[in-house]
């Protein structure tokens, strides 16, 4: 009985706790973003090979990392939600998906804009690019499945199964795309030899990675709060909250 009570109360306490956390992370993200951009544009020197075009790295790499990392986090929370029947973790997974998809899109977009001046083409069927594209498909599949199901609990569980199947498949997909790529290594450019990076470049990039982290946390919490309100609209605590807000 205690567990059930905990389950019921936890979205409520999480809601108020996260409400305090969103602005903190948002400000951290803004500060880190400004710092990272400053280092990226005004401190890091011009790359002797790529000229100024390399400055795309400061968003490209964080976006690519976040896209993959967020998928794992999403699958993790979805799996927890499925295994322990906790609503909050499932809501968290639902909230992560759009942000993950956005980062995946950004990684592809900036990759294309970086590729054009460097290799003369917007797109190469390189293993990494192709896997990133497939990752975008997986995100879109997850979101469309959840959007198509009216019953939120069923949406949570169905999404969780899909996310977990995706997680099992990602290494297989990545490995097969890599294999396919080496077989077809024709005119395409190899992206594997990364040029040695100046320390300031690395610093700038890492700051931007942290900025993306903070941003993701802030936005995901913000979204999960809305989802909680939408889903728990019939509960007593939401009504209480509404009354308090109206009184203010």
């Amino acid at each position: 009985m205690a567990i059930n009570w905990f389950k019921y109360s936890s979205p409520a306490s999480f809601y108020s706790l996260s409400g305090k956390m969103v602005p903190i992370f948002m400000w951290l993200a803004v500060v880190l973003l400004i710092a990272g951009m400053y280092v990226g544009f005004f401190v890091a020197p011009t790359d002797f090979q790529q000229g100024e075009a390399y400055r795309i790295i400061f968003i490209h790499v964080p976006a690519a990392w976040m896209s993959m990392f967020l998928y794992l986090v999403m699958a993790f929370w979805a799996g927890i939600g499925l295994a322990f029947n906790t609503r909050l973790s499932s809501m968290l997974a639902t909230a992560i998906a759009p942000t993950g998809a956005m980062f995946t899109f950004l990684a592809l977009w900036t990759g294309a804009l970086w590729g054009k001046p460097m290799w003369g083409t917007w797109w190469v069927w390189d293993a990494r690019l192709t896997s990133e594209l497939i990752l975008l498909f997986l995100y879109i599949g997850f979101m469309s499945l959840q959007a198509a199901i009216d019953d939120p609990r069923r949406a949570d569980k169905a999404g969780a199964i899909l996310a977990l199947v995706g997680v099992v498949n990602i290494p297989i997909i990545y490995f097969s795309v890599q294999w396919w790529n080496t077989l077809h290594q024709g005119a395409s450019v190899s992206l594997n030899q990364a040029p040695a990076m100046a320390t300031t470049m690395l610093t700038g990039m890492l700051i931007m990675v942290f900025a993306s982290w903070m941003y993701s946390i802030a936005v995901i919490l913000k979204r999960v709060r809305v989802i909680i309100l939408e889903r728990e609209s019939h509960t007593a605590w939401v009504a209480e909250l509404r009354k308090k807000e109206a009184a203010r």
Partner: protein
């Protein structure tokens, strides 16, 4: 034997019923009553383990049915308002396949005997799609004759049945209850079934 304690059913945002408890012993009949939308079908689906109660527990011989799994399903027969018959298969094929699915393989003769009892003789090799609603219902109910399960959970078993078929069902239920079986059913029709004990479960 079968016990439910403090069951709560939530569908979407709405709570259909709460704190429903009951217990059913061998030979007992339980009628689940209530107006439309009061959660009768949800209740029966819960008792089958098709859905889980939001709170509360259903146990068979003292063990929760969710942890019994196949063991529970081999002593229980559920008939929902969907007949579970395939339009393209013949009457005999339908009965044999649905029995096999429920864990009991029967041969052609046994199947024909059961169908005859249900008043479907002469139609055994017709595809189900040419039958009327009432006849389809009889095909589905024929499974009750051949199955040897202890607990029957029936959702509106009398829907679409004519007077003679209702009589037939009444006999079938009484025989089952007389042999120490248990029946949980919903119905909107009047039916007189004598049982060792009859309980009524009223849902708000």
């Amino acid at each position: 034997m079968l016990q439910g304690s403090n069951l709560v059913c939530v569908r979407g945002d709405r709570r259909l019923f709460k704190d429903v408890s009951f217990s059913l012993e061998p030979g007992g009949l339980m009628l689940v009553l209530g107006p439309n939308g009061s959660g009768k079908t949800s209740m029966l689906r819960m008792l089958c383990g098709l859905s889980n109660p939001a709170f509360g527990e259903i146990s068979w011989c003292g063990t929760a049915i969710s942890s019994l799994g196949g063991e529970y399903y081999s002593v229980m027969t559920y008939m929902g308002h969907l007949s579970g018959t395939k339009d393209d298969l013949t009457v005999v094929e339908n009965l044999r396949i649905s029995s096999a699915l429920a864990g009991l393989e029967i041969n052609e003769t046994e199947a024909r005997e059961a169908l005859q009892y249900m008043g479907l003789s002469g139609r055994e090799t017709l595809p189900v799609k040419v039958l009327s609603q009432g006849q389809r219902r009889r095909v589905a109910l024929a499974r009750l004759l051949v199955c040897q399960t202890k607990l029957w959970i029936l959702d509106e078993p009398l829907a679409a049945l004519d007077v003679s078929a209702v009589k037939l069902m009444q006999g079938l239920l009484e025989r089952h209850l007389g042999q120490g079986g248990m029946v949980i059913m919903t119905t909107h029709q009047e039916i007189e079934v004598t049982a060792a004990s009859t309980t009524q479960l009223q849902l708000a």
